[in-house]
């Protein structure tokens, strides 16, 4: 198994992922790690139905992830992993799904968050988690679509004065 893209995107599977990132990183397997979708059969079915037949796709909860990593994901796949939040990404990472880089795609503005780019809004907790990834040696970059310039989290939080 090789993780060709690990991405935080609160829209999970959508146009930017399917049309831009999948061909760019040559992914052949999409893994969505999300408790809400994994536990809602209807939303899960809807999300699965968006993915073309040429791609394999799996939606699992954080709890199901370790077993899945061992059984399914071992050798053959170019894996594109999607998380809705940095928190989910860190839980997965700490449970053995390691990746060298973390891409920040969409984290939408909510109460208590502030924008750090056109598509990213973070609060203090998000920032701590992203700092934690940096400490773990994971390169965190913001890049919504492949043609955008990648911005490094270290530099972005430096700009914020953190």
């Amino acid at each position: 198994m090789s993780v060709v893209l690990a991405r935080v995107d609160n829209r999970l599977i959508h146009g930017q992922v399917l049309e831009a990132w999948v061909p760019y990183v040559r992914a052949d397997y999409i893994l969505v790690v999300n408790d809400v979708i994994a536990k809602d059969p209807f939303r899960k079915q809807l999300m699965l139905s968006c993915v073309p037949n040429s791609l394999q796709v799996k939606i699992c909860s954080l709890e199901e992830l370790p077993a899945l990593s061992q059984r399914h994901l071992e050798h053959k796949h170019n894996l594109l992993v999607l998380f809705a939040t940095p928190q989910d990404a860190l839980s997965a990472y700490e449970n053995g799904l390691e990746f060298p880089r973390l891409n920040l795609g969409n984290m939408h503005l909510e109460q208590g968050k502030h924008c750090i780019s056109r598509t990213l809004a973070v609060d203090e907790n998000d920032a701590h988690i992203l700092d934690r990834f940096a400490q773990l040696g994971v390169e965190v970059t913001a890049q919504c679509v492949p043609s955008d310039r990648a911005q490094y989290w270290d530099c972005m939080c430096h700009d914020l004065g953190n």
Partner: protein
């Protein structure tokens, strides 16, 4: 690289290019045309003629996508069919435009037009049907 022109009633052509660019990144050799009520047809024909040349610097060809067969944008575009390197697809949709971006370098213009036509049709989907009674 095959060039692209989207021609449609009102502003949807430019908006469709804008939406495609937000997903696929910048779109070179692409132009949008808005045909407004009361527009001078011959003036638009001339502008389109210039645009066809402009988006096709290497001579690989041009696909014109229009919003509707039989509408004015399509009727004006039809005149360019005398050029064997121009293909016209009527009934543009966003999946078709996105797929164009990913495949414009990989096939000749005629093959690309056939492919995009099939892809665009296949992308029109009744969600309830593909779910097969799963909902509710």
């Amino acid at each position: 690289m095959v060039g692209l022109i989207i021609a449609a009633h009102g502003g949807i052509a430019a908006e469709m290019l804008r939406s495609a660019a937000s997903i696929m990144g910048s779109l070179p050799q692409a132009r949008a045309f808005a045909i407004e009520p009361g527009a001078d047809i011959e003036a638009i024909h001339t502008q389109l003629q210039d645009a066809v040349a402009e988006v096709n610097p290497e001579g690989d060809g041009v696909i014109i996508m229009t919003d509707m067969f039989g509408g004015t944008p399509a009727n004006i575009s039809n005149r360019f069919l005398k050029n064997p390197k121009v293909e016209i697809i009527n009934g543009v949709n966003l999946p078709m435009v996105l797929k164009f971006c990913g495949s414009r370098n990989s096939m000749p213009v005629k093959t690309l037009a056939d492919f995009l036509l099939r892809y665009g049709k296949k992308s029109i989907i009744n969600t309830r049907e593909i779910l097969g009674g799963m909902e509710g």
